[in-house]
């Protein structure tokens, strides 16, 4: 079976457990996906499958030619996988891959926030509001020492583009699966806007057990 599927974010809501607890969930439309191409080590130098999702009317001739007898699919993405032997071109993959209680990783492009300052981007504290300070409320402060080293060290956090980049959230719990409508309800939030393309795969890394942090002094 495939390791993951393409999907789209539908929106967020709440699900009640029988006890009356509320679980915040993100609803994803996952699949149905079609295997559109199989990449083999002999031909392409590596093994992967290409899968597609969502039918569209707007395809150009090369795209239509690539898909041949398959439905006209809007999104095509490649997934590296070792066992290409278990796939055939045209095979349909659907949400049945997941079941409630599974852990999944969700990747997508996060919402773009544009060029953001250090407070928003790196959670800097900013300057003082009072004590005579007037124009450095959101400034980063000092970015280095003096003649030694005489430059700003690489990797110093600063202002810049925030968001609109690939992001993956690991080990999210599947709460509910609706096979009829190809829906998945996942606990928590996933990157991107509504309708943005996502990749949902079975969790790869083991879930870390969160140790209780010793409570220290808060700030200054």
């Amino acid at each position: 079976m495939a390791e993951g599927l393409l999907g789209k974010k539908v929106g967020m809501t709440q699900i009640y457990t029988d006890k009356g607890e509320i679980i915040p969930v993100t609803v994803l439309q996952v699949g149905p996906c079609f295997v559109t191409q199989i990449k083999s080590p002999e031909k392409d130098g590596y093994s992967a499958i290409q899968m597609g999702m969502e039918e569209t009317r707007h395809l150009n001739k090369p795209e239509r030619g690539h898909l041949k007898q398959l439905p006209s699919l809007k999104y095509l993405r490649e997934v590296r996988t070792g066992n290409i032997a278990s796939f055939q071109v045209g095979q349909k993959l659907n949400v049945a891959l997941f079941s409630a209680g599974d852990l999944v990783d969700v990747s997508g492009v996060s919402k773009g926030k544009g060029h953001a300052g250090v407070i928003k981007r790196h959670h800097f504290k900013g300057g003082k509001k009072t004590h005579g300070q007037s124009d450095r409320m959101r400034s980063p402060g000092s970015s280095g020492a003096t003649t030694t080293p005489g430059r700003v060290l690489k990797g110093m956090r600063g202002a810049g583009q925030l968001g609109n980049k690939n992001a993956t959230v690991l080990n999210m719990e599947v709460i509910r699966v609706d096979q009829e409508r190809n829906l998945l309800a996942i606990k928590g939030t996933v990157p991107g806007t509504k309708d943005s393309l996502l990749f949902v795969r079975k969790a790869r890394k083991e879930k870390k057990v969160v140790k209780a942090q010793p409570t220290g002094k808060k700030g200054k």
């Binding site: 929106g11 967020m12 809501t13 709440q14 699900i15 009640y16 609803v27």
Partner: protein
Amino acid sequence: MNLVNAIAKREPNPNIPTLAPGDRVKVHTRIVEGDRERIQVFIGTVMRLRKGKRANASFTVRRIATHGVGVERTFSVNSPRVEKVEVAGHTHVRRAQLYYLRGRHGKAARLREKRTVTPERAVEVAQTPTAE
């Protein structure tokens, strides 16, 4: 139905009737105390309804507790902890959200009762000969 509701929606609770702002209600909720469970009743006026028939729909009930302290509680329509809601009466209100009750106390916070004609009463009225 939109897809978000399609997956999150529960069977509607048959013990919750259609509510309207200004309704006098008794809300029966299940409360867990240690390993014991009991029903608590919250009696008050429906102050607002939120999110209609969506999965996370809720309604807020306001009551005046002892010493004239206003207490507001919000209940989830779809929560299994809400056992049932009884409507004890309706009042005449001209707003969807009765936030103005917050600023009032005592007599000023009263709402005019809406007289509802029960089927038995309707028959009684119809049979009474009108005075000439």
